[in-house]
Amino acid sequence: MTSTSTLSRDEQVKALQKKDARRRRIPLLPALIFTIVVTQTPFVFSLYFGFLKWRGNTTAPREWIGFKNYTDAFQNMFFREAAWVSILMTVSAVLLSVIFGTLIALLLDRKFFGQGFVRTLIITPFLVMPVVAGLVWKNQMFSFNFGVINWVLNQVGIESREWVSEFPLWTIVIVLVWQWTPFMMLIMLAGLQGQSSSVLEAAKVDGASASATFFQITLPHLRPYLELGVLLGSIYLIQVYDHIFTITGGGPGSTNIPFFVNQRSFGAAFAYGSASAYSILVVIAAILIANFGLRVLSGLLEGEEA
């Protein structure tokens, strides 16, 4: 075979490979474009609105004011408080649900009668709608008059308390932990079941106690799963809105940034410009918190070397 082409053999092969790659990717393009349009357009608009002075309840025209909304945000005492609540709420809910999730996963990672049934029961909180979860906890658990918690405390002689108004932030955290523990449990269970049983047997033969096996072998093995749990948990929990709305309605000390953003815009103040700027800050904060969480976790587990 003689080739009339002036291209070398190598170049011909490369051109063919390129063509082949293009042929395979082109059909994916519409989906990619659609995804970009749908997911990124609102973000780009928010970004744009964040630079505007725009009050929905006046007829004043929109006005480009640069970073003023952002600098104002940090001056705003209410925003700073909401940011602090966001951090507290997210960090504590994520950490607690990861810890409880891991503990429950350890219990479920062994064979016992009714295992499937118990596992399903434990997952149910995650399947409950956030609004429903909030209402159930508020009216059945925390309620001053009819709440289960107060009833139990009364039985042992402790007086009833107004849980929601006394501890607005922590009641919300409790409900969040209740809902998110099953999710973390699922991730950790997947991690535990991915651990080779012979590694655990080797540890036994090597004379490791149960706690040494857990801290030196199982926990390092779970690290990527913990990271995943923390990452997903942070991303979702920084956006919590429904629980706050139903339980405290944003009562003192329980307004996080998303709730605050809503109050500033559609809720009451119609300050679309600054609300947009705040929501951009939430995105940045989510990234920062997730990163920080991962760092801390990696640091904790990195130190485990003989």
Binding site: S198, V205, A208, A306
Partner: protein, 364 residues
């Protein structure tokens, strides 16, 4: 340094009635390398795991160095185990993997590192001490698993098919190294394998198991020359022993044209037996070309260079059987030839029904 003793030890898995290991009696001497061999499902791994304490002993007892360890957890047995998939701790470096057991014993770090270095030197692992297992080749991982066992200086080494994940060439090489290492350290070792070649080449003695029952324990040579029953006869040796099933003709067994010459003890056992069918076992090297042998048709010839294995259809009383004959590699034989073969070495006679060997007990 220790001897190991299984005393009627049985393991019956929950939910089953058949014992995975059935009343195993086995004495392993100090410093011995004993190989447990058998096909899959024979209970060899279970027997090893019972000794390790990873498997419950339902009946009987196990002793290490005279001490009853039947109910002791693995931690208290002072044993080291090498697993088939090595079971290295994936998040730890090679050095930490090897030091792990010492760390659990509370040995100070300086001494730990010293012992790890020593073991690493023996196993040529020194350049890899800081690596993670995933950055090692299969052979290196195998050596780390060995290293993890030897730094412990345990009473007994347990090895569960440690070479089966290596490629063929490395397996043969590592086999030799392992035998040498075991001899140098002089630690009692129980080695499990499904590969009879590995068993024969490595073991001081070999214990053959089938369906949870110990068939025979003996030196590799005795196992080969005096298999105690039909199972051992068929399992040990490659290619396998030719087993020809025939009906007795009075007090004779006829394969081909002539009766098989039987030693006195076998002949007297045959006379005493009231069974009808027997199995004549002949190793491929104990058949040879002979002028007055029985004519057989060549079906396949496997050339190995030094030898050739000739598969022939050998007629006998009431049918014919495929048998393998080992001939010199220089002999030119082709498919379709008809040649005369005869027995020119020891034969093994087994009762077809019970599988028991006729003649004097090989363990005597």
């Amino acid at each position: 340094m220790a001897e190991v003793k299984y005393e009627a030890a049985s393991r019956i898995y929950p939910g089953t009635t058949l014992a995975a290991v059935n009343k195993l009696d086995l004495d392993i001497a100090d410093g011995e390398l004993l190989v447990l061999v058998g096909p899959s499902g024979s209970g060899k791994s279970t027997a090893l795991r019972m000794l390790a304490g990873l498997e419950f002993v339902d009946q009987g007892s196990i002793y290490i160095n005279g001490k009853d360890v039947t109910l002791s957890p693995p931690q208290d047995r002072d044993i080291a185990m090498v697993f088939q998939n090595y079971a290295l701790y994936p998040q730890m470096s090679v050095a930490s993997n090897m030091a792990f057991a010492l760390k659990q014993q509370g040995i100070p770090k300086a001494e730990r590192m010293e012992r790890v270095k020593e073991a690493a030197k023996i196993l040529d692992l020194e350049p890899y001490l800081d690596r993670k297992p995933k950055n090692l080749s299969g052979g290196q991982r195998q050596r780390v698993a060995m290293g993890r066992a030897i730094v412990r200086e345990p009473q007994v080494f347990l090895m569960d098919e440690p070479l089966s994940n290596l490629d063929a060439k490395l397996r043969v090489q590592t086999r030799t190294e392992l035998v040498d290492l075991q001899a140098r350290l002089g630690v009692t070792t129980v080695y499990v394998t499904h590969d009879q070649v590995e068993a024969m080449t490595m073991g001081h003695r070999v214990a053959v198991l089938d369906h949870g029952v110990l068939q025979q324990v003996d030196t590799p040579r005795r196992l080969y020359s005096h298999p105690a029953n039909l199972f051992v006869a068929g399992f040990i040796g490659s290619p396998a022993m030719n087993l020809i099933e025939v009906d007795r003709q009075g007090d004779q067994l006829i394969v081909g044209a002539k009766p098989i010459p039987l030693p006195d003890d076998v002949a007297s056992d045959l006379r005493a037996s009231d069974s009808k069918r027997f199995v004549v076992g002949v190793r491929p090297e104990h058949l040879a070309l002979a002028e007055d042998g029985s004519p057989s048709t060549v079906v396949v010839v496997e050339e190995l260079g030094s030898d050739a294995f000739v598969h022939v259809e050998m007629p006998h009383e009431g049918g014919s059987t495929m048998v393998v004959v080992r001939v010199d590699g220089e002999t030119s034989i082709e498919r379709g030839h008809t040649l005369n073969f005869d027995v020119n070495g020891p034969v093994h006679i087994f009762d077809a029904k019970s599988g028991v060997r006729l003649g004097s007990d090989p363990s005597m």
